[in-house]
Amino acid sequence: MAAMRPPGSAVVGAPGDVELAAAVKGHLADGNGAAARELYGELVRRHQRKATRIALYYLRESADADEAVQDAFVKAYTHLRDFEYGRSFEVWFTRILVNSCLDRVKARGRRARWMIAADDLGEASPLERVAVPRETTPEALALRRERGIRLMDAISRLPERQRTVVLLSQIEGASTREVSDMTGLRETTIRVHLFRALRRLRALLSDDPAFSVPAWRAGVEASGKRPEEP
């Protein structure tokens, strides 16, 4: 193991994820479970919000989402010896989390054949509640809310891989390489999924009034209609 920094040592600024993970590994190797858990708690705190957000994309607002996050953190802790120094902890952990979420989505699908899902009993999806009041006019607020809802609804209608790629890259801001590490797919495959997803999203949203004629569309500013294509 390379460059392990013991806890409490003189460090300028907070240690990075990789250093923290390495320190946790070191404590675990020494049999010092309490110190390992304490440090790992710091890692959990750092990534908990984003992890919960990703779980909510997949599992909607339910106990499943929280359980998927908990499972992923516990699994990451127990498999920390597999984490290689130099890699991104966030990417490594997100892969565990995405797999955990997908397992639950599949299990939910199996259950849904026999039972009525909680979501169908009136519990709203977080993807249906995407609205942030930044503009004051009711019209602008309504439009923004509507756009968010429609976008996430369209994303949720994409095939599983396309959805994963769009959420991780376009919403969570991961690069193609990071998405590749998170999902285990090749970068070229990710590109294909991403562009297929974007094309499909455009098709799904093209007739939607909330997305009609944005300012960046060709010729909108000048004449209000598109120029003819050759």
């Binding site: 390489r177 562009f195 098709a203 050759p230």
Partner: protein, 205 residues
Amino acid sequence: MVRFATRWFGGWGQPHLSDESLVELHTLQRTGEHALAARYQRHVRQCESCMGRLEALREDCAELRRDVLAGVDALITPARLDRQFDIIARRLEGHAGRVLPFPVVTHRPAPAPPLRRWIATAAACGLLIGVGAGRWIGPIDAGSRTAWRPSTTSPTKAGPRLQHETDEQMLDEIDYALTRSRTKEFRALDELTPRINDARARARR
């Protein structure tokens, strides 16, 4: 509906990026694929109109993304995160994440009514007597059993052959089904299964 994607529009002298290309360029930039974005980037640097459109698209997407993130983040309250953190900490310490109260009341079997007990005892005795008598009498002679068979039919001649043919037919059908493209997944399983002809040949040896 979205039309077929075109890369450029406008005249030969003054081409512009199509909407599809603009979205592609923005996506490539966001995902860190600058090498792939270079071909559009060169044009955008020289074209004020496309530059303006790209900026507008970037702002539009950023705003949409902020809305989506903030909307989901609003569901993740500090209390929720604390609760989640506590459960993770408990699980890491080796405790169960959630403590469920276990029912304390012990289950006692209800006393069976005396009549039902008598019936059960009688049935058990009958069974024992039947088994004992069967052993004492011994196996029935095979000749006496064949006397009960109807003599008009001759299943011994036609039966095995017919069955043999139908078995072969069935195996042929299975082989045919396995060669079809839709059942490729079963080939591995099929290869693991011993062939009936091989088994027969081995038995003859």
